[in-house]
Amino acid sequence: MNDEPLVRWDWIARNWDNGGPSAIRTLLESHVVMALLPVVFGLLIALPLGVACARWRRLYQPTAGLMNVVYSLPSLVLFSIFLSFTGLTQSTVIIPLTLFTLAILIPAVVDGLGSVPEHVRQSAVAMGFRPLRRLLQVELPVAVPVVLGGLRVATVSSISLVSVGALIGQGGLGNLFIDGWQRQFPTPIVVGIVLIVLFAILSDGLLVLAQRLLTPWSRARRSAA
């Protein structure tokens, strides 16, 4: 391996779009799908669950406890468990990652709703908001900065965890690591790392941008403080 350069550009050029299942482009696309779908599903599930946990606090401890147990399991264990149900498909990665995402997003929604100042909630009641409209027009919008904070963590961790799926053949860019190790060939490993990091930075940047657009009042509050 001593003579092997860290990156062989010609290998990248040949394998970027070679038409096969191991083309870098194909792996990148499946990585994006397997990383982001869990975040989308997680958010869709965490919003109602988080609202319910915030509304009925007794639900929160058991839910959070269960989610922490799930989160503490190594991802590989979860993948193996789902392997017997969903086989060697993307679902075997997407479902466990959705569960991991929930472990981050449910507390984020609960904390976000908890971050709504009591006087704001009280004044919404006193103005004559009914509960659903109060939730949609006051409490959730005010919770957005905290929820988006959770979403950033969930997104980046999901992007990194997808690679572990390579051990069951569904790792997106993670498959490049296995390939590289098996062949003692650093180029795929470097390509995988660089693309995953770039993808994570880009996603996080987009979320920060979304936060600025969605909550001008919150950004300005920070700069004023």
Binding site: P117, H119, V120, Q122, S123, A124, V125, A126, M127, G128, F129, R130, R133, V138, P141, V142, V144, T215, P216, W217, S218, A220, R221, A224
Partner: protein
């Protein structure tokens, strides 16, 4: 008119927050609920718009039991101002003010136009309309809170310690503005405070509540100061009741003497000071048309010779009131048996002669 009929609030743990409260808050007047913490004043206020429901008894809005009205509908018809303003941080000022009109289904344009009117009414620059609440000072936020409460023109306004989180100078100006607004709008206002001075300044009627949620006394401020019902009320009112009560006695009845020769005046007959060998000495003025007997007395105390200078609205000297004349006025207004004459060593009058007592 808001009527409390034997209203009690008892919590499941047995705590009684409000105990058999009966009183009336008259239409078009400011009724203040005042008392120490734990006296149930905020609970009483919140039972009016059903933020809290009474355990027993009735609250009538005009002749209608509030329990018969769906709470959100009831609340949209009652303005509410909360301590920290409670503005929605994610909405611009104009949309905060338009909250209730939006809830009532007004179209956006009309609601915003109404909001702009109200910002002007409470003395806020229209430039602030597009800002977010955090960009405003505490006093401005509180004004927005008042504008928001008035947006749908409700006949009733509930104010829960609205001015207690701002500094004393801003608080005083907000109080003055509330009185000014009220002189134009004539809302039925129920105002909660723990500050007896605020209660006396703002209230047409003051209900003093004691811990445990029982009404200790309800009266107009002057009566409260001169005839406290019991030791609790007397203690709660604090010192200097005699002096403070004079704030409610107009200075119009004071017999004025002519302007003496030793008062130096400018060409517009505005006072400059008392002549003496060492130059001009300080003086105090009061406006008999506008000020109270307390202000006149204060003006006398500010002059080394004990003579208060009466001025007109433009500050021109129109006469003087000597100690003897003021003593006569005090004798007419301040010496019913219950009232003690305040110890003169105790009251240190504020030194600003421009201060007008209302």
């Amino acid at each position: 008119m808001i009527t409390f009929e034997g209203v009690t609030k008892r919590y499941p743990d047995g705590t009684v927050a409000v105990d058999d409260l009966s009183l009336q808050a008259p239409t078009g007047a400011i009724t203040v609920f005042v008392g120490p913490s734990g006296c149930g004043k905020t609970t009483s206020l919140r039972m009016i718009n059903r933020m809290i429901d009474a355990t027993s008894g009735r609250i009538l809005l005009d002749d209608q039991d509030v329990r018969a009205i769906d709470p959100p509908t009831l609340r949209r018809g009652i303005g509410y101002v909360i301590q920290q303003a409670g503005l929605f941080p994610h909405r611009k000022i104009v949309d905060n003010v338009a909250t209730v009109p939006y809830l009532l289904g007004w179209d956006k344009k009309k609601a915003r136009a109404r909001a702009m009117e109200l910002l002007e009414l409470v003395g806020l620059d229209s430039k602030l309309a597009g800002r977010y609440p955090f960009q405003l000072s505490g006093g401005q936020q509180q004004r927005v809170g008042v504008a928001r409460a008035l947006a749908a023109d409700p006949p009733v306004l509930l104010m829960d310690e609205p001015f207690s989180a701002v500094d004393p100078i801003v608080r005083a100006s907000l109080q003055e503005e509330l009185l000014h607004l009220q002189s134009e709008l004539h809302k039925t206002i129920v105002f909660v405070t723990h500050d007896i001075d605020e209660a006396i300044k703002l209230g047409d009627a003051v209900a003093v509540l004691r811990v445990g949620g029982r009404l200790a006394q309800m009266a107009d401020p002057a009566t409260l100061l001169s005839e406290p019902a019991d030791d609790f009320v007397r203690e709660f009112l604090g010192k200097d009741r005699g002096i403070r009560r004079l704030s409610f006695v107009p200075a119009t009845g004071i017999r004025l003497g002519s302007v003496p020769a030793d008062l130096e005046l400018d060409e517009d007959t505005r006072p400059l000071g008392w002549r003496s060998d060492g130059g001009l000495l300080p003086y105090g003025t009061f406006n008999p048309e506008r000020d109270s007997l307390r202000a006149a007395l204060d003006a006398a105390l500010l002059s080394p010779n004990g003579t208060a200078i009466a001025v007109d609205g433009d500050g021109r000297a129109i006469g003087v009131a000597t100690r003897d004349v003021l003593d006569e006025a005090l004798a007419r207004h301040g010496t019913r048996p219950e009232k003690r004459v305040p110890d003169p060593d105790r009251e240190v009058p504020a030194s600003d002669p421009r201060r007008a007592e209302s």
